[in-house]
């Protein structure tokens, strides 16, 4: 599933070919299904799909270009601050950052 990625600084496009965001267990045996439900009834991957569908190309991509984001996402183990917090009012697009 790692093929066909559209990276190369092309932030503005909406070529989302990688669908490995959350790899579901592909062959779900009965017990595996029960175990996953036991761990949590919440299904963030479903909500994530709605977010992807509702996203508007390019909006908020400047955040991904900041030095802060790049440092946080690239740094190797033992980085000084492993927590990144994006804050803002309701509706400014925090959820839809690509």
């Amino acid at each position: 599933m790692s093929s066909g990625r559209q990276w190369s600084g092309n932030f503005g496009s909406f070529n989302v070919n990688s669908n490995n965001i959350f790899n579901f267990v592909t062959e779900i045996d009965g017990e595996a299904h029960q175990i996953l439900q036991w761990l949590s009834p919440l299904e963030p991957p479903k909500q994530h799909q709605d977010v992807r569908i509702g996203r508007l190309d390019g909006v908020g991509n400047w955040v991904l270009e900041t030095a802060e984001f790049k440092k946080w996402s690239d740094e190797e183990d033992g980085c000084d601050e492993p927590v990144l917090f994006c804050y803002g009012n309701l509706g400014v697009g925090k959820t839809y950052l690509r």
């Binding site: 959350f22 175990i35 996953l36 919440l42 963030p44 996402s73 917090f85 994006c86 950052l97």
Partner: protein, 187 residues
């Protein structure tokens, strides 16, 4: 954020996420939220024997007991340990119940403490900044507000999707495209 991280991710890197929602605040307990993160890691890497054993044991007792936070944390740390890096993305943290949020932030701090390979991305409104800084004093903070281009793109999309296009003409459209971004930039 999740999609960008996924596109960058190599084999040993996991990206997992969670969306807090005030409408189901009480259902999003700390164990449910951390359990959802664990669930994604387990879905990705397969269900290990110790998790099956814990499940089988829990199933036999009292008609199937749920995991408690300390046990869940133990399993979660074990799932994170072998990975090259794990990005945990939690959206709209301000929409979680305050008592759950405190516990969640404390648990995330514990994960960071024992897992040098873990990275945490949080979004929320500014009023929870103090809570986050209290937990993670050195957290990198980025204020998010839409750029003029963002606002224009959004307006164009909304105008294109207008369900009553007969009420719109070029002049009105141009007025909207001029007035609203100007108004917002003055705020």
């Amino acid at each position: 954020m999740i999609d960008t991280l996924c596109d960058q991710a190599r084999g040993g890197i996991a990206v997992v996420g969670l969306y807090c929602d005030f409408r189901v605040q009480q259902e999003q307990s700390t164990t449910c939220m951390l359990g959802a993160i664990l669930k994604q890691l387990v879905s990705r890497g397969g269900i290990q024997e110790h998790i099956r054993d814990a499940f089988q044991k829990a199933k036999k007792e009292f008609g199937g007991r749920g995991l408690l936070l300390p046990d869940l944390m133990g399993i979660l740390k074990r799932a994170i340990a072998p990975l090259e890096r794990v990005f945990i993305c939690i959206d709209a943290l301000d929409e979680s119940a305050p008592e759950h949020r405190r516990e969640l932030l404390g648990s995330l701090r514990e994960i960071i403490r024992v897992s040098p390979n873990a990275r945490i991305f949080l979004t929320g409104r500014a009023h929870i900044e103090d809570e986050i800084v209290k937990c993670f004093s050195e957290a990198v903070r980025i204020p998010v507000s839409p750029t003029q281009d963002d606002i224009k793109s959004y307006l164009e999309m909304r105008l294109d999707r207008d369900t009553d296009p007969s009420a719109m003409d070029d002049e009105l459209r141009a007025d909207i495209m001029r007035a609203i971004p100007a108004e917002i930039s003055e705020m």
